[in-house]
Amino acid sequence: MTAAHFWITLLKAVLVALALLTTFAYMTLVERRLLARMQIRRGPNRVGPLGLLQPLADAIKSVFKEDVLATNRDRVVFFLAPLISITTALTVFGAIPAGRPGGFFGANPWVFNLDIGVIFILAFTSLGVYGIFLAGWASGSKYSLLGGLRSSAQVISYELGQGLSILGLLILVGSANLRSIVHWQYHHGWLIAFQLIGFACFLISSFAETNRTPFDLPEAEQELVAGYLTEYSSLKWALFQMSEYVNMITASALISTLFLGGYRGPAFLDAVVPGISGWPYLWLLLKIALFLFLFIWVRATFPRLRYDQLMRFGWKVLFPVALLNALLTAAFVGLLPGLSPWILGLVSLLILIALLALGDRLLAGNRKLARGSAGD
């Protein structure tokens, strides 16, 4: 590695971190405004035009707030936990390719390119749970500890479903390199069409991994005050907030890259405007924005799951369904080689519809059961 290469990579890493943190700041504003709109309120609109300076005001407030330190805390770990959270969150995004090779003023528009891109991302996001978990323990309060325990159990459970749900995709593409996956999709069509079940599982487990509604049990305020965040304040609290949103952005980017064609636009648009599918950044940003909107939309729509529902869903629904998807794809590729993947997509769609319909029935049956044994 030459010195110039090193400095360019460093510069790109810093730029990505800055971009992520700016997006985080405005994401909080967008989220509050959108939630307000969905709940027929106005939301923050006082600081600056349309409330656009609100994130700045929030940042100043966070920095100058008193840092309240719990007496019972573990000194080193209490300080370390938010750092672990934000470091893992920021590192992961570097693996996402944002454009064609040489698309960033002659440099490559990604910080590092690994042959094991997807696996690397899964590995590093699995480290992110340490931040939450250690924060819960180091605070020395029972609410924090319960929040931390819940979150670790949740993240470990859904990690399995998440990892399994991309197995089918990896079988189809034959590479774990994110750029190869994008390239494959440009030539064969978006993977969401062929891996619908995998997409559904991955999307749901992404919500769980980022601790967003309806899986935001670690911070269930009615039960646990604020979960692992209870004893944190000012900058340390802001760091946790930051890592949650950065994780959300990364999850959106990852879903777009894996299932929606990544940094390439749809190929058929090339017939209308030549070369439009190769425009850098535009497509990835659009797709990320789409999924961020989905995250907010879901938060405004769904109630939080109960803990036992969360576990039951993760282990008894998500895990087997993801496994089924992997088996189905493996059987399709192994036993019917040469067949168009669109057939696989059709079969997946039918199975998903059947699962949804069946799930509704089963749910209704369960509810009747629960009512029948209410005194249990």
Partner: protein
């Protein structure tokens, strides 16, 4: 070389912390540090897939479960009583020396099964493909044996924690529908 020294030092510090820390949580964190430095050492050796698996399995899952148990059992308090096993320190020294000796023997007698240049081109930078191919062809029997072992462990743990079937209440509650209560 500098990178190797830093990583080796980090993993050693983590290891020492693991056995020297009086707080069980700090010990677990030291072990996590060791495991992650080991993963980075694998990366410097071009074994990318192995490194990722190391992080996912050991740092991401096994150690979190360690922490889970330590926290739930409230084992984080320092242990100050005497060692429950007699002569444990002396035994530890003996076995430590034995282990170090055998490792030295292995190190002396090691010869690569084929030239490193050939092996490196076959491995393609430690990509998942070649690793998987070797696992499912040359090492199929050990691989299947290990998966069988894990399956036994899973079934065993399920059998251990499975609660005995709830006996039906001799006096059924008036609200309960007949025949539905025992399945809940």
């Amino acid at each position: 070389m500098i990178l190797f020294l830093i990583l080796a030092l980090l993993s050693l510090v983590g290891g020492v912390l693991t056995i020297a820390a009086s707080n069980a949580i700090h010990a677990v964190l030291g072990l996590v540090g060791t495991l992650i430095s080991l993963a980075m050492l694998y990366v410097t050796l071009d074994a990318h897939f192995l490194a990722a698996v190391q992080v996912i399995v050991y740092a991401g899952a096994v150690m979190v479960l360690f922490l889970f148990v330590v926290m739930l059992l409230n084992a984080a308090r320092p242990v100050s009583s005497r060692d429950p096993i007699p002569y444990v320190r002396e035994l530890a020294v003996i076995f430590g020396v034995l282990l170090a000796g055998s490792l030295l023997l292995v190190l002396n007698g090691y010869a690569p099964p084929r030239s490193l240049a050939n092996a490196a081109s076959d491995l393609a930078g430690g990509a998942p493909g070649p690793v998987g191919a070797v696992l499912l062809s040359k090492f199929l029997l050990p691989f299947e044996a290990v998966s069988l072992l894990l399956l036994v462990a899973v079934i065993g743990s399920v059998a251990l924690v499975l609660r005995p079937q709830v006996q039906e209440d001799p006096a059924p509650e008036p609200a309960a529908q007949p025949g539905r209560g025992e399945t809940a």
